[in-house]
């Protein structure tokens, strides 16, 4: 797999625009096949899990195998709701961005289960160090949707005072750390946080998420090294959505078979998970949380998924991958799969689903109206201008005081 004749190997994706995508070369283990060891297992004994794939929902949308978390239909319906809301929210925000209501947006389409199932499997007091594509967690943790929107349109009610790009949420109350625009930095921070929890004698854990491309950063290695050395109660998640903007996963992966397998070199428990399978993500997260809480240290989870839309509003994926690639991607759509599973259980039906979509759409529309009543980026009101000089330090020094005066605010 390299681009034509090259003198060193430059990995290239299997399909480029104009080619017919076909994932039959991908030999993915079947749902239910993976063994579920006790969460106290030695890290080195997770090799099969790192090279395999933990899946629960099979082709018929039935829950199979040892990893089935056996959660109630209520929990599944709640998960479905958060995922549907996430997708509708994303759609709406994208439209609003196109209308100039906000400067930037990033959707999580196709990756909703990664965020929602993980947040639901964690305790609400577990600390989250997210990347920019886990908005589903905020819904799962009950963040007010109007507040989320107010952040995205940088208005007077933005809890970040307009200081951050849209989708770079912060929510301390919900144990959701401040999202960085710099890739990977939060991974070792999460380990430090987890060490502090252990130090304080708490059984809270910390969890962090980065993308497949970001695993190449030095901070990835720093995090895994700290985690292995101090056996910190952390879950380190790699969301492998196959793409890093235009770079396909092979640029970061090199010859390695899976991202999960990168954890084996640190002897961390390492598991590749079907990231489009709500139950599998839930179960793996629960397993890893139990392991961490019991003092057995960090788990590296690879969530195998597919970025079903553009990287961000600044991206144009048809330039580098076939438009239909997402459609033929073998692990399907996480919402559809959970929906069918619930229908199969007799706990859901198409009518209820449509009603849910309708309710969520209404919620989003109504919330946006309310959010907009607090202003928008271009029309204001924004946070007072002088707030740009606040929170640099606990107290303003003479420089900031003078600069504020210079600006006349």
């Amino acid at each position: 797999m390299s681009n034509g004749e090259t003198r060193f190997r430059v990995p290239a994706p299997p399909f480029r625009p104009g080619e017919e995508p076909d994932f039959s070369h991908l030999k993915l283990p079947k749902a239910g096949e993976a063994k579920r060891p006790d969460p106290t297992v030695e890290g080195r004994e997770t090799q099969d899990l790192a090279l395999g794939l933990v899946g629960v929902l099979d082709h018929n949308h039935q829950a199979v195998g040892e990893w089935d978390p056996k959660v109630s239909a209520d929990v599944l319906r709640e998960g479905l709701k958060h995922m549907v809301l996430t997708r509708i929210y994303d759609e709406r925000m994208l439209k609003l961005q196109r209308q100039g209501k906000m400067s930037f947006y990033m959707k999580s389409k196709g990756e909703e289960a990664v965020a929602v199932a993980a947040a639901m499997a964690l305790r609400d007091d577990d600390m989250i160090f997210p990347s920019y594509r886990q908005q589903g967690m905020l819904f799962a943790r009950g963040r007010d949707i109007v507040d989320m929107m107010c952040h995205c349109i940088s208005n007077s009610r933005d809890n970040l005072k307009g200081r951050q790009l849209p989708v770079h949420y912060t929510w301390a109350e919900g144990n959701f750390f401040t999202i960085s625009g710099n890739l990977g930095t939060q991974f070792p921070q999460a380990v430090g946080y987890a060490m502090a929890c252990a130090y304080k004698g708490e059984d809270r854990i910390a969890a962090s998420w980065i993308g497949d491309g970001t695993t190449a950063e030095g901070d990835f290695h720093g995090a895994l090294t700290l985690a292995s050395t101090y056996r910190a109660p952390t879950i380190l998640n790699v969301v492998n959505n196959q793409w890093a903007i235009s770079s396909y996963q092979g640029i970061a992966l090199g010859d390695a078979p899976t991202f999960a397998s990168k954890g084996l070199g640190y002897c961390l428990a390492s598991i590749r998970v079907d990231g489009n399978d709500f139950l599998a993500v839930y179960a793996a997260t629960q397993w890893a949380a139990e392991r961490a809480r019991a003092g057995h240290g960090t788990t590296l989870l690879e969530l195998f998924t597919y970025r079903a839309d553009a990287h961000s509003t600044s991206d144009e994926p048809s330039k580098y991958r076939p438009k239909t690639e997402g459609e033929v991607w073998p692990l399907g759509d996480p919402i559809e799969r959970l929906k069918q599973h619930l229908i199969g259980l007799g706990e859901w039906d198409q009518a209820r689903h449509e009603q849910l979509e309708e309710e969520m759409t209404q919620l989003v529309v109504k919330s946006y109206k309310e959010a907009e009543s607090h202003g928008t980026l271009h029309e204001g009101p924004l946070a007072p201008t002088q707030t740009i000089f606040e929170d640099v330090y606990a107290e303003q020094d003479w420089r900031l005081k003078r600069q504020r005066q210079d600006l006349g605010v």
């Binding site: 090259t6 933005d158 200081r163 790009l165 990977g184 890093a244 903007i245 770079s247 991206d315 600069q403």
Partner: protein, 338 residues
Amino acid sequence: MPVMNMIQALNSGMDVLLERDEDVVAFGEDAGYFGGVFKTTDGLQAKYGADRVFDTPINEAAIAAMAIGMAARGLKPIAEIQFADYIFPAIDQIVSEMSRIRYRSAGQFTSGCVVRTPWGGGIRGGQTHSMSPEAFFTHVPGVQVVVPSNPYDAKGLLIASLESGDPVIFFEPKRIYNGPFDGVPDKPLSSWAKHPKGEVPDGHYTVPLGKADIVREGEACTVVTYGTLVHVAEAAAEASGIDAEIIDLRTLVPYDIETIAKSVNKTGRVVVAHEAPRTSGFGAELAAQIQEECFYALEAPVFRLTGWDTPYPHAHEWAYFPTRDRFARAMKTVTEAA
């Protein structure tokens, strides 16, 4: 002569370099197949092959290190850091290695390469797509620092940079990639087609490092700046009617002290300007050197017009960015000082 925007001019510069010399390679995150998130390397992989223009893993330190290793073997790498905000993971390789290979090996090895990176604010990029970290690199002996302000210079400086044989950190003012910006946020984008430096020869030429450009002659005061703010300064001079002499520095290390001193000795009044925070910004170096060099000619303190000592804000970008009006006020302050 063809009209190019800055992206096309930079692309053309790389094309010329790649064409003329098989030792030239170009790489960075998304820089290969896709041609870069700003499309600066667009088409070059298709033309020169995937081992001459290629994608890298997302590890800026490794990108810099790869450039160092390749340069040691005689290649001439052009490395792209996707945004200047993301150069910090690479700064150890730049400060501790790239900048010193020639020195510590007493010339046995060299690290000639260009590290290109989109730089500066004005695009609503928030704190992680707007930084102007040039001052850090001006404090590093062994690297040169370049900031073009127009397509013609961008191409000529890029070629000169790679041909210099020493490492160059090459900051590209992304706000003006597609057209000059006069510091009035709500005015529509202008076009490089209307700017004399939008005409760019197709072939090889250089703009020498270390030479500033006087983009406007004037008597009332001297403005020393670079990048996007060159255009804001011009707009401010026009709007305010202040007869400013505007110096586009182009190269920050080594900066053209001769041109600066000559102008300051004439006007006695100076504004130095940049987008980066004020404290220890490159304006501090300029002000310090100017007051030393032209002490007896100065009729007012050198005025530093800069970003504030805060992270780069998102919603209040225009309260942070040195706009045309702030620029005009600064010129007024120095020209009116007793």
